[in-house]
């Protein structure tokens, strides 16, 4: 019988033209790098927007030089207006959540490494895979377009609550065309992600090479598999919501807009819509989305830690089951974003229990990581530093979740900076640290060169200390009742808190500057870094069994055969203290799982 992996995957030979090699490429590795580039562009945009926001929050009347270039009416004399603040905030969150956190750890690294981890030649549907990147790219361009139309981007937050998002420009600048552009861009984005899941899932289920059972897959691939299943079922709910929102705007329907609303003394023409319907649809997507943002990072960080600890995790299966538990529970908890929304207060209690329960798999994962460090021979390098940083940040973010899981405590903390602290710790910094860890670890494989280790460490220290300085104080602000999404703080009781905001701003600017070290390191290493060996970290999984970077068909025509679990470290073998997955050498090890 023929070996299916070579047969059922791409029927394309090596690309020859420039367009096929670098632009409309069918090669999953190129597509992965294209996604990475998109994520990098998006994170730079999101970061610059956050600097502008933070400067305004610390010094409300400060004239930021050049700000008027960003908006025709939003910055008279370069001083940010409240509406421009909200527009920048909305765009910051939208770019970060969609175009960075869903793209980089999942689409970028996933596209590059899933076929390699499964020993396949390419994804099963390379044309759809190529379309998935370009669709996402179109979504990105459409979102950018909102800066250039009419009165600018939408100001309703990345959550776009109705009716503010649905009644049109009468509700504020950017609420007309800005919302339609936002919703269109997101709908296109959903399609792109579905094309991605369409490739990831069949690759992992059907194209594994000989000897590669599901339990022998490395942890990132399990994480990507679980995330693809989540993406499949959550993005396909966001798209209908966006369609309904667009219809409310352009077709005069009233899905989300109730009757008898009066804005600017004008009675609005809509009637009968349900305000809460948008929230239910959005958060049914929104909560799995945040797990889509973090689970790939957990897989990547586990992978990096194992390689650097020189021993496998205490239990491979428990980690996988816990990732799966997070995914399943994530659909049952979405109401915790709506405790005080006006939905039935009994529902709030009902949603709080799975929310509290979801701490259990999260705790198990963290304890397995920490417990696996026991007895390790931990190597410290840029990749492992960011991985360890991820663990610390995820602990902090998870712990603040204890508070927010309870409706009674949300009476105090809902919509305050406590929430901002919580989601930035888990998503903005833990997930970003996961991306950095994966970058430092896999850069040699992806681009064939080593990154500068010294610069990597400097980047880590500045970032790690910096992000704690930025986001830890936000917990205290939240406890003190500092409401979020405010462009400034005129309320009497918030006046004493402005000093804390100024401290945060300084920390944010400093940490942002440190990211330029990473950018320099990335670009410089890409062109002038030391050429990388095939296996610079003495890793065991299949990506280290091929060249850096891999050839166009990943393994140079070899039909890979896997003999071992993915993490055979701490053994005595001919190569040292590890056995590669595709090595026929049989070694006795205490950690072999069936």
């Amino acid at each position: 019988m023929h070996d299916t992996s070579a047969h059922a995957a791409a029927h394309h030979g090596p690309p020859t033209t420039f367009i096929r090699k670098h632009v409309f490429s069918l090669d999953h590795k190129v597509i992965g790098k294209q996604y990475y580039g998109l994520g990098l562009a998006a994170v730079l945009i999101g970061m610059v927007l956050s600097w502008l926001m933070r400067i305004h929050l610390g010094w409300t009347n400060y004239a930021i030089p050049g700000l008027h270039l960003l908006s025709k009416t939003g910055a008279p004399g370069d001083v940010m207006t409240p509406e421009l603040y909200l527009q920048l905030m909305t765009m910051h969150a939208t770019f970060m959540v969609f175009f960075v956190l869903t793209v980089a750890p999942f689409a970028a690294f996933g596209n590059f490494f899933i076929p390699i981890h499964t020993g396949a030649e390419d994804m099963p549907f390379p044309h759809f895979n190529m379309m998935s990147f370009w669709t996402t790219f179109v979504a990105f361009c459409v979102m950018l377009l909102s800066f250039f139309v009419g009165d600018g981007p939408t100001l309703g937050g990345w959550t776009q609550y109705a009716p503010l998002s649905a009644v049109g420009s009468v509700a504020g600048p950017g609420q007309g065309a800005g919302v339609v552009i936002w919703a269109t861009s997101i709908a296109i984005f959903c399609v792109g992600q579905l094309f991605g899941s369409l490739n990831f899932i069949p690759n992992i289920l059907d194209l594994r090479c000989k000897g590669l059972s599901m339990w022998r897959l490395p942890l990132p691939t399990w994480a990507w598999f679980i995330t693809s299943c989540m993406g499949l079922t959550s993005f396909s709910v966001l798209m209908p919501a966006c369609i309904l929102l667009i219809l409310d705007h352009v077709a005069g329907t009233s899905f989300f807009v109730a009757s008898n609303l009066v804005i600017n003394d004008q009675l609005q023409p809509h009637s009968g819509g349900s305000t809460l319907l948008w929230q239910h649809l959005f958060w049914f997507f929104g909560h799995p989305e945040v797990y889509i943002a973090i689970v790939p990072g957990m897989g990547i960080v586990s992978h990096v830690l194992i390689t650097n600890m020189r021993k496998p995790m205490l239990s491979h299966r428990v980690l996988v089951y816990s990732f799966g538990a997070l995914a399943v529970l994530s659909y049952m908890v979405y109401g915790h974003h709506m405790f005080v929304s006006g939905m039935n207060p009994v529902s709030s209690i009902v949603f709080s229990f799975p929310t509290l329960l979801i701490t259990i798999p999260s705790t198990i994962i963290v304890l397995i990581w920490i417990g696996s460090l026991y007895g390790a021979k931990l190597r410290i390098n840029s990749a492992s530093l960011f991985a360890l940083g991820f663990v610390s940040l995820f602990i902090t973010g998870g712990v603040s979740g204890f508070f927010l899981a309870q409706p009674s405590i949300q009476i105090l903390l809902h919509a305050t900076y406590f929430v901002v602290a919580h989601f930035h710790f888990t998503m903005a910094i833990a997930a970003i640290f996961g991306i950095f860890s994966g970058t430092y670890f896999w850069f040699p494989k992806m681009w064939g060169r080593m990154m500068n280790e010294t610069l990597g460490r400097i980047h880590f220290w500045c970032s790690f200390v910096g992000v704690y300085c930025i986001f830890m104080p936000m917990h205290y602000l939240g406890l003190a009742g500092n409401v979020r999404r405010y462009s400034s703080f005129p309320a009497d009781y918030m006046a004493p808190l402005i000093g804390v905001h100024q401290f945060i701003t300084i920390a944010a600017l400093f940490t942002g500057a440190a990211q330029l070290i990473f950018l320099y390191n990335f670009v410089h290493s890409r062109f002038w870094g030391e050429p990388a060996p095939d296996n610079p970290w003495q890793g065991t999984s299949l990506e280290w069994s091929t060249t850096s970077p891999p050839p166009w068909d990943n393994f140079g025509g070899r039909h890979m055969v896997v003999y071992h679990d993915p993490y055979q470290y701490g053994v005595q073998s001919s190569t040292g203290d590890y056995v590669m997955q595709d090595s026929p050498e049989q070694v006795k090890t205490e950690n072999e799982e069936p």
Partner: protein, 224 residues
């Protein structure tokens, strides 16, 4: 009389080759005796998994629309039942018929692919009939919209009409997408490179469109 305990009959999922110890693990990729070279190649075809991914995504999105409908109905008192245009029931028959013709096509193609591949057997004929019926279905849906318009019911007239147009239009769009897929399948057949899995995957999608339509029809009938 001694009773004999008969051992339970265990039907193996796949009979191993003679001398082969059998496979284990998910998808049977690992030999139970550890000797890797003896593993049987088990080759699930990605397009069959892929089409289930697509069907799952589409099902979820229609679930979202359904819950939007239910919530919207409960949100206000402006729900005014509309009478479904009778042409919908004819369209349903057309779509279900296209499922039957697709099954006929599959059997003809199997015969064709299994024997001498002479085109006087005309294996594509029933695919053309299926495509024709698909087009008739979409045209019939369009006719239903025209009937609604002549009754003064447009997209934004009331929430019932909004959901009627929305659900039928999005379903029709997916049927059109299915017709694109059917074109792809027919072209492959003509070039004699149609794989069984491709045809199977397409038919799952097409039958799903039929089942989905029946569900939507019931939903519209009961709720709108």
């Amino acid at each position: 009389m001694a009773t004999t305990v008969v051992p339970p009959k265990v039907k193996p999922r796949r009979a191993p080759e003679p001398g082969h110890p059998g496979n284990g693990g998910f998808r049977n990729l690992v030999p139970t005796d550890g000797k890797l070279p003896a593993v049987q190649d088990y080759a699930p075809v990605p397009s069959k998994t892929g089409i289930w991914v697509v069907i799952a995504a589409i099902a979820m999105s229609f679930a979202a629309f359904t819950s939007a409908l239910v919530v919207r109905q409960g949100a206000s008192t402006d729900w005014h039942h509309l009478v479904l245009p009778p042409i919908l029931f004819w369209n349903t028959l057309v779509l279900l018929a296209s499922g039957v013709t697709l099954e006929i096509a599959r059997r003809r193609i199997a015969v064709f692919m299994g024997g001498p591949r002479t085109f006087d057997l005309n294996p594509a004929r029933w695919l053309y009939v299926t495509a024709f019926l698909g087009v008739v279905f979409v045209a019939g849906q369009y006719a239903a919209w025209l009937q609604l318009r002549s009754a003064g019911l447009y997209l934004a007239t009331n929430p019932n009409s909004s959901f009627f147009y929305l659900l039928t239009a999005i379903h029709a769009l997916h049927v059109l997408g299915g017709l694109v897929g059917l074109t792809y399948v027919t072209r492959k057949l003509h070039r004699n490179v149609l794989r069984r899995s491709t045809l199977d995957s397409f038919s799952y999608y097409w039958h799903f469109m039929g089942i989905l339509w029946v569900y939507l029809l019931l939903l519209l009938w009961m709720k709108i």
